[in-house]
């Protein structure tokens, strides 16, 4: 009889604990859900910024910007007289 009573008591305690845990899980799950929503929103924002960056950083834009603001050109063959001119200009500048 005592064993039955003890077991009943133990189960009751366990059930109370389980109910408490269940409640806690529900609270945490709600928090996770909220965080997931925030996360999704942030991910969307991130995708937007990444896409914007991709657009700004596209080879086409970089090429047009460097052509506009920098005097960088791909290596190319030049004629002999221009090659000589390079030295004469440099000499003039030095003088």
């Amino acid at each position: 009889m005592k064993k039955v009573l003890f077991l009943t008591f133990l189960f009751s305690i366990l059930f109370i604990l389980l109910t408490f845990l269940n409640y806690k899980i529900e609270v945490i799950e709600t928090e996770i859900r909220d965080l997931e929503i925030i996360n999704k929103k942030l991910e969307k924002d991130l995708v937007f910024y990444k896409s914007e960056w991709e657009y700004i950083n596209s080879p086409e834009n970089i090429s047009s910007l460097s052509n506009k603001y920098l005097d960088h050109k791909p290596a190319e063959l030049i004629k002999f007289q221009y090659f000589i001119k390079l030295f004469s200009n440099e000499r003039l500048n030095n003088e």
């Binding site: 009573l5 008591f9 059930f15 109910t19 991709e54 090659f83």
Partner: protein, 564 residues
């Protein structure tokens, strides 16, 4: 006597203790009953809690599925650069009932954004029976924020998810686009619709850096040669990945699209062309592999050959006996026809069939077409097909078939997605090592002493074959309407990449009568060289420093130096 008294006392004590025990038991029974009830209540509560939770998790799964549907996966290039993504854009709506001064509202708005028809809008805003009026679609987030900060009463922004293509025209045909319901309509968007629909991001084989360069050079050349359309493809010979695919004219997938326009057609995979001389590569490959000829075998190309009232001539007649090597380097149609006739119709047809020239390309794009093959295959077809007339294929098929030769793999397939690392590619060898080496030698020699001299790059070893096909109209070939192309492989020592540049009806100097001279060697070959100059550093192909003396080159009689 004494014993009997002791016995009575003991019995009465026993009875009393029994009574007490019974009383305790009753109390314990009541307590256990109460605890049992409490346990039952808790159990019921547990069940109660667990049921709605299950219901909730089911809703959550549906929500997730819906979210996936809304969040179409991104398309990325081989280096994880975004090619297609989802962004929020805003539609500006107004509620006439809430607007007190519609003229002032429109004035404030027109200072911030351009309005299509202000008079019509004003009329709509003054109509108080209307619940809402759409003022403008597709407003970007910064613009929307600016207007929102003004706090205009009666106007509201509605966010809408839109597919965004940051590289616009550059990737139009390769990446494709979606319709209003986010369903893939063209290119990779269509091929991978089901996976993208579930929110999966997909890495395509495209390299945006190469794609930009190829398009840039092709666009410049298309304007220069005033060609109807142009296409260029670069593929990895080891696994069939397409690194760049450009079709011109193209379109901006971010704007509204009209599929009826020619710019919508993917020239590289849909258009069929009688390619011309690049087919000599297949004819010679078949003849050498079947040991019918070698590089020194002689053929009489001193005069045009006539088969069934059809005269086969050369573009630049050599009027002499030519070896197989010379036939390739001079791109002799007569010589090629003679090789094909020597080989025989059956062997040539079987070889063409084997390498997949008579079938559709394997590329995993929906936009592709079957080749147009001759209805009957007689002596004349054997001759003309040997130099690429009478059989129409798409540029992508040309790449796929040629790759089979240089990769020596009949199972070679082109693909638009990036291959998983370490994946074993199916192999089926079909050519002898001698045949492949001979083909590589011929391709390389052609850029030095053949028709592809303009594709030669100092310090780099490439190989290629030019082609100039005439368009057939009303049963006749038109010499003024050419298909000029250049097929090449690099580096020649151990080919890793293959490319094809093609122009549809090019002309030199934008003059009509210059169309006849706009051959593959004069148009597609120099464009390929320009592309290579820019992409080799990206692909890690280094200059061969043993060729240092070539830094000084003779260009039209003038000595040139290299400037960096």
């Amino acid at each position: 006597m004494k014993d009997s008294i002791m016995n009575k006392l003991f019995i009465s004590d026993l009875l009393e203790s029994n009574k007490k025990e019974k009383k305790h038991n009753k109390i314990l029974l009541i307590i256990s009953f109460l605890i049992g009830i409490l346990g039952l209540v808790i159990m019921m509560r547990l069940v109660e809690i667990s049921f709605p939770k299950k219901k909730f998790s089911m809703i959550k799964k549906e929500e997730i599925k819906k979210m996936h549907e809304e969040n179409r996966g991104m398309l990325l290039d081989r280096n994880n650069r975004i090619l297609a993504s989802n962004i929020y854009i805003y539609n500006l709506k107004a509620y006439p009932k809430k607007i007190k001064d519609s003229v002032n509202t429109l004035n404030i708005l027109s200072n911030q954004i351009s309005l299509y028809d202000s008079t019509a809008l004003l009329k709509k805003l003054n109509n108080k029976d209307k619940y809402e009026v759409l003022i403008k679609k597709n407003i970007t987030a910064p613009e929307a924020k600016k207007i929102n900060d003004l706090g205009i009463p009666g106007v509201e922004f509605v966010p809408v998810i839109k597919r965004f293509y940051p590289h616009r025209e550059i990737t139009s045909h390769f990446v494709g686009h979606v319709n209003g319901n986010m369903v893939g309509q063209l290119g990779a968007e269509r091929t991978f619709h089901n996976r993208l629909h579930l929110g999966e991001n997909i890495n395509l084989s495209l390299d945006i850096r190469l794609q930009f360069i190829v398009r840039d050079e092709l666009q410049k050349a298309r304007t220069k040669y005033n060609s109807k359309s142009a296409a260029a493809i670069i593929a990895d010979l080891s696994n069939g990945e397409i690194l760049s695919l450009v079709s011109l004219p193209d379109f901006n997938p971010n704007q509204s699209i009209n599929p009826k326009l020619t710019s919508y057609t993917n020239t590289a995979t849909l258009n069929l062309y009688e390619m011309g001389s690049t087919f000599k590569l297949f004819t010679i490959a078949a003849a050498i592999d079947l040991a019918q000829v070698d590089l020194e075998t002689k053929f009489d190309a001193s005069k045009p050959i006539e088969i069934a009232n059809y005269k086969i001539k050369d573009y630049k007649p050599q009027n002499r006996i030519l070896s197989t090597k010379e036939i390739f380097l001079n791109s002799s149609n007569i010589g090629s026809s003679l090789i094909a006739l020597e080989l025989g119709k059956l062997k040539l047809k079987t070889f063409y069939e084997k390498i997949g020239l008579l079938k559709k390309s394997y590329i995993n794009l929906t936009e592709k077409t079957k080749p147009i093959i001759p209805k009957k295959w007689g002596k004349i077809q054997t001759a003309t097909l040997s130099y690429g007339h009478g059989l129409s294929v798409s540029p992508i098929q040309m790449i796929e078939v040629s790759s089979k030769l240089f990769n020596n793999n009949l199972k070679f397939k082109t693909q638009i997605h990036k291959e998983e690392e370490g994946k074993i590619i199916e192999q089926k060898r079909f050519l002898s090592v001698n045949t492949i080496n001979t083909l590589k030698y011929l391709m390389h020699e052609n850029t030095i002493n053949g028709t592809a001299k303009k594709a030669k790059l100092n310090g780099f070893n490439i190989g290629g074959k030019t082609a100039t096909g005439e368009k057939a109209e009303k049963g006749k070939y038109d010499k003024t309407k050419l298909i000029s192309s250049f097929l090449s492989i690099f580096p020649i020592e151990k080919p890793k990449y293959i490319s094809l540049v093609l122009f549809d009806e090019p002309s030199l100097d934008n003059v009509r009568n210059q169309r006849q001279g706009a051959t593959g060697g004069k148009t597609a070959a120099p464009v390929t060289a320009n592309i290579y100059k820019r992409i080799f550093p990206i692909l890690g192909i280094t200059k061969n420093f043993n060729l240092d003396q070539e830094l000084l080159v003779d260009n039209e009689g003038e000595v040139n130096f290299v400037s960096y």
